[in-house]
Point group: C2
């Protein structure tokens, strides 16, 4: 028979997906242009031409046995070299190809990083901070650890350090952070990261083993003007970066990203080869060769990301003026306002009456908020303001 645990999981329904499906149904009724679908975190701008031109050039002009052939399990050397060169130039680091393992996007990177640092027999835990991406639950559970969630700092969506210090214990294998954050849009400040690093250094010493910092950074390149956005790996030696090109290059379908470990991190010598071993058991060894080679030709290329900041400014300004309480995002394409009724689900149901598709916050580990994924055309953001005004009028 089929594994009953997985069968039971199929009954669960993602609230994000439920809202998205509702929006699709409504679009079929009244036209997609009349539905203000803020449910999904799908990039709304095209990939950079450097990337798409590279794809075509590779297919048309390079050796097909290379371009379509197997990648080494650690990833294509050309991609690994180009990526660390780009990081070193931007962040003043000195990574080499030995620091990097090419992964199937951020999901694959996190799957590898967690398995690398967790020993299931030890009944360890991994700590994250609300609000958090709901898939962290299956990621951490799949690696054989318990996910512990620190409740949100709702003043600023930075980190609730008091609760962290109470929660971290000798069974803590890693801390999993996501900055810029989905769903809050907030970026952890240098002060936040430095305090986190201090605590982890002290606790690692206290417990006699390293506590890793796994930094999930798919939104690293989407930071708004003037925002303090530290490169986290420079602030704590035992950091593993999990990256994806899904958002920065608008290529989530390319399933391409990486794990990067600091040279000073414990386990550095083994990490990349450990990732290779992990792949063998979970069935995905590396991203597609063609995408790796295309990224290698343009490792720093970016989509035209400024639309997200423009959308953010419009929504933040207008919704704040309507009465919504919002911590101003520093990046991403998300915003996480307080649900005025306190009941996020009821609020998002009410929003449907105005064809606003919003996601209630509960699955992100914080009750009483809602997520706006404003990766939509700016003209649509502007047209949606009238619907937000009608909705706000019911509460304020």
């Amino acid at each position: 028979m089929l594994n009953k645990d997985y069968v039971a999981m199929t009954a669960g329904e993602s609230v994000i997906r439920k809202m998205y499906m509702y929006g699709l149904g409504r679009a079929a009724q009244i036209g997609a242009e009349n539905v203000f679908d803020y449910s999904l975190g799908n990039p709304s701008v095209a990939p950079p031409a450097e990337y798409t031109d590279a794809l075509v050039d590779l297919v048309r002009n390079e050796n097909p046995l290379l371009v379509h052939g197997y990648s080494p399990n650690v990833g294509m050397m050309a991609a690994r070299q180009a990526i660390v060169d780009d990081l070193n130039k931007r962040f003043g680091t000195d990574y080499t190809v030995k620091n990097i393992f090419m992964s199937v996007s951020a999901a694959g990177a996190i799957a590898h990083a967690l398995r690398a640092v967790v020993t299931p027999e030890l009944k360890q835990n991994v700590i994250t901070f609300a609000p958090f991406f709901p898939e962290y639950r299956p990621y951490v559970g799949g690696a054989g650890a318990e996910l512990r969630v620190i409740s949100a700092d709702t003043n600023a969506f930075q980190i609730n350090f008091e609760e962290l210090e109470r929660t971290i214990d000798e069974k803590t294998a890693a801390i999993l952070v996501n900055s810029p954050n989905n769903p809050s849009g907030v970026v952890y400040s240098t002060a936040t990261i430095d305090r986190l690093a201090q605590i982890l250094t002290a606790k690692s010493k206290e417990f006699g083993h390293v506590i890793y910092l796994i930094s999930d950074e798919p939104y690293r390149e989407i930071v708004f003007e003037g925002v303090d956005a530290p490169f986290i790996a420079k602030h704590y030696k035992d950091t593993i970066v999990c990256y994806s090109y899904s958002k920065s290059m608008s290529i989530p379908g390319a399933r391409t990203g990486y794990c990067l470990i600091n040279t000073e991190a414990e386990g550095y010598d083994d990490f990349v080869n450990v990732c290779v071993q992990i792949s063998r058991g979970i069935g995905h060894n590396c991203p597609p060769t063609l995408m790796q080679l295309a990224v290698a030709k343009a490792p720093g290329a970016l989509s035209d990301l400024k639309v997200y900041e423009e959308n953010c400014n419009i929504l933040y300004g207008e919704l704040s003026a309507m009465g919504f309480e919002i911590v101003k995002p520093g990046g991403t394409f998300y915003m996480f306002p307080k649900a005025p009724s306190g009941d996020a689900t009821a609020f998002c149901e009410k929003a449907k009456e105005f064809d606003l598709i919003l996601v209630p916050s509960d699955s992100f580990g914080v009750p009483g908020y809602f997520r706006i994924a404003y990766c939509v055309p700016t003209e649509k953001v502007k047209r949606s303001l009238e619907a937000f005004r009608k909705l706000a009028a019911l509460y304020f």
Copy 2:
């Protein structure tokens, strides 16, 4: 610290890879044209133009937000529909999109299929037949089951049914088969598959639960003239097919394949959604969108595969004449002759003296044989015969 089990695994070395690396080193010394590298199962012919043209057309002419965007977790509808239409036309089946889950090549397909049918708490086993692909060990172990290996039928590389009947028990969740087979090149006959189906039907009844047949078929399209090659899923209802385009289209770097379950199989209603749940824990949700869409445009396209049969005929005829004992392959690009000394490792070491790079059979679960991966240009096969002759002269 890092997980010690994975660190320990890094010390292990694949004998295939070791031979390949030796060949690379030798090529640097004497020129690649003088090294007869039969170590790796990498396709040696280009992908079909239908596929590469589709890639370029999609990148140049289709909506970039679709082509580079997220795939649904089950796979792109266009790909699923095109693939089942192609299968139905070729095999007289009546699959629909509900039968198929798009996977990250055959490795991803097997990772999903095994997790779907194994319940780790039940301490189940999965049975396979020697000779077998060495990665079946981490695949089965990673899914939480014990791999049991039935020793080889060295007369014909069909199935040792007596040992199967003794080995199968109430804890057997699935049988994992690979036909056409890596490394023997042999195709299971209709008689073999029908007898296997009879045994599984009887044992499923005896034990009161279904025993699945997981059919790993990346070489399905590489079958030589006149060979009886049944479509296995038509012979046993509880079959899950694991497929990859890596060999048929020469695109192993595209990481694209699928899991397909029979409509009559137990668990059919849940299977595809169970695969979606499994993906959440292991971090790979589907193959790249672009590759799925390219396959959708040409689901039945094939590389020019006849070179493999030509190489097989040359090597089989010549090596047999030299005195090697070989079960004639029915497909793939592998051949599995008996090592004349009985010691496969010593034989393959000796072969190096003639710059023949061969792989000893031990890691495939059978001592005393060697694998020839003849996915190389035919002119090179011809030039290698002199080296084989010199080698054979030492033994016969």
